[in-house]
């Protein structure tokens, strides 16, 4: 009997031209371009184009792409109605899952090919998921949903649609950086679920719905929220050492540390630390940044572990005014372009994913009539 590839760890399931990760040296590249360069110079729209099309857009291509996204950013009254019908204490990630499933529920027109419909849904879902999440956040607080501002891009609109205030240049840039860093990370569980789904030639909406359903699990998504909860639980800098000591003594993990692939450091965490540092200077959320830095040093001293993307993402998102329980869905709002890039790649060279199990249940037995069973 062949070996069981539990969790498929270390198993190479195919080729991909999207994202390169060198876990040993902490390198992450989208389509060959280092994440550090992108974070400094690019935008989420541009990175999305890069991930989907394999190269950076020209000026004309970028403005057309941004316009396409902008046109799809508003929600139909029917989607808003669904958001309003859900209980106000719903988990935002479950709401996002329901809304994406709903948006994907409408059959394509007879005149539209499978490929065209997928392309339309890609733009529609990538653009509107952020609107779904920010709109639900308003609805649950009893506020009136807002219409996206066509003069603002992906990042600024998300912040605007929650609060009704146009974000400062600094806020917009900080959030845009998070968006780019979250955009893709190769074949993680949610992306994999999306690819398995469309390997049946299910539509792109189905693939994205699967991915978001998979991200809802605590072993995959939601760490940014748990980091923020941890910071609040610790409360102040003088309690850090005791907290970390107690957690480690109890055999628990410190939230936001370590990564299955990055053995030394997560390059995204370095970038976000700088972003969080700049953003919290002279603000009341500086406290959380200072605490985070101390935790980082102390965990390094005790465990030789470095923070991952979620650690400083939590501090940054908090400084941007994003409530804790919305943080996991922020991941989804931006990873969606990575899911879609991998889904397109799966379609382009498809083979149904149909692995096997090893049966370890009882040997053959025969049916015993109910009356003779004890």
């Amino acid at each position: 009997m062949a070996e069981i590839e539990k969790g498929l760890e270390g198993v190479v399931i195919g080729k991909s031209a999207i994202t390169f990760i060198d876990g040993l040296h902490g390198i992450l590249r989208y389509r060959g371009i280092d994440i550090k360069e992108l974070a400094k110079n690019s935008s989420y729209e541009e990175v999305s184009y890069l991930l989907w099309n394999g190269r950076l857009p020209t000026k004309t291509q970028l403005s057309k792409f941004a316009k396409d996204l902008s046109r799809q950013r508003s929600l139909s009254p029917a989607v808003v109605q669904v958001l309003k019908s859900l209980p106000r204490n719903s988990d935002p990630m479950e709401v996002a899952r329901t809304a994406v499933s709903y948006v994907a529920a409408f059959p394509r027109k007879k005149s539209e090919t499978f490929e065209r419909a997928n392309h339309r849904k890609a733009v529609q879902l990538a653009s509107s998921l952020s609107t779904i999440v920010s709109t639900y956040d308003r609805v649950r607080r009893g506020q009136r949903p807002l219409r996206p501002d066509s003069k603002l891009g992906h990042a600024a609109n998300f912040l605007y649609l929650r609060t009704g205030r146009k974000p400062s240049r600094e806020f917009e840039r900080a959030y845009d950086t998070i968006c780019m860093l979250y955009a893709d990370h190769e074949m993680n569980a949610s992306t994999f679920a999306g690819c398995v789904t469309v390997s049946t030639l299910a539509d792109l909406g189905g693939g994205v719905t699967s991915a978001i359903a998979t991200l809802a699990g605590p072993l995959h998504g939601g760490s940014n929220q748990r980091v923020m909860e941890m910071l609040e639980k610790i409360g102040s800098a003088d309690k850090i050492e005791k907290f970390v000591d107690d957690e480690l003594a109890a055999g628990r993990r410190i939230m936001g540390f370590g990564h299955r692939i990055y053995k030394n450091f997560d390059p995204r965490a370095l970038i976000l630390k700088e972003v969080a540092d700049r953003l919290t200077r002279e603000s009341k959320s500086r406290k959380w940044f200072d605490m985070a830095e101390k935790i980082e040093d102390y965990v390094w001293e005790k465990k030789n572990l470095r923070p991952n993307i979620e650690f400083y993402a939590a501090v940054t998102l908090n400084a941007l005014g994003i409530p804790k329980d919305l943080m996991p869905s922020v991941f989804a709002c931006n990873r969606i372009v990575g899911w879609i890039a991998h889904i397109f790649e799966q379609y382009a060279d498809n083979r149904l994913m149909r692995p096997l199990t090893e049966y370890v249940g009882p040997e053959e037995q025969h049916y015993v009539p109910l009356s003779q069973r004890s």
């Binding site: 991909s16 499933s101 096997l356 049966y359």
Partner: protein, 373 residues
Amino acid sequence: MWVPKGLEGVIVASTELTKIDGQAGRLIYRGYDATELAGNVPYEAVAHLLWLGGLPAEAELLQLREKLGRSRALPVVVEDFLHSVAKVAEPLSVLQTSVSILGGLDSTKSASTVNASIALTARMPTIVASFNRFRHNASPLQPRADLSHAANYLYMLTGKEPRPEHVRALDSYFTLLADHGLGASTFVARVAASTLTDVYSAVVAAISALKGPLHGGAPIYVWEMLQSIGRPESAREWLRECLAKGDRIMGFGHRVYRTEDPRSKVLKRLAKELVKPDLFHLASTVESEARELLREDHPNRVIDTNVEFYSSLVLDAVGIPPELFTCTFACARSVGWTAHIVEQRKDNRLFRPESEYKGPADLDLHGLQKTEA
């Protein structure tokens, strides 16, 4: 480590649920031959077997029946949703979205995965039936706790007391389709569950995969093929043209079975009992012509009927409209999906494979290859 594309032949988990012997054409649930269970034990007993590990004693069966029976009604939010989309949306997506809404409403889902599985399995047929009634301008019927899982589904679809032979046939269909190892949808459910997401979320993911035409169990395509062929005399020519165009013949071939799908035999027998002789004659003619043509085309490979072929006839005969075939399959498979989710959570390891990067190496922002410094 490199593996074949599509993970073909790769073992990704051990399971106590289902054994498929592709060479001999056998399907075994926890040691019991599925074709022996079908029709001999009620679907609820098979659900008990898959969820809890053994065929139930009488009291246990009653208890599960009762639990399913009282869990069938839908929350108002879901009913309103079904009402609002009935005329415009596609049935399987509506089922999926409804399951997603149900998940958000079930505050006890994390307490017991098995209980959440029971609640979800109980409600899926209600969702499909209510959706169908809204679609036809009728109001949904209240589920009946006195009826079996299969009987209640038929009752809620039609509003009539279902005929015993229809109930028996649908019950057998449910049993035969309850589980089938790691079909793509079940695999997706396990991948999702490996993040410790709840049962509803994992089933939402599974339903997505069911939408694809390469996933088995979608007998609507067979149904459309039979409608299009129309008469037994046209079968050979129709099938020849189909193959000449490079299209697949629907209801034939399976990644795992190298012989006749064992479920197909039972379904053929049921179809013969239930459907009009003309229709059965058409189907069996198409079956034998297709088998012959496929043997000519692929002399070294056995391509035989799969579960979809006669499913279409059986489902139609018991009164399920073709556009609900795939949803009905989902209702049957919910037991298998959820049993796999329970199993995944028991001995979990996050699914996180790798892909080999074959794109450009280090580029600068102008897209130019960087030179070694």
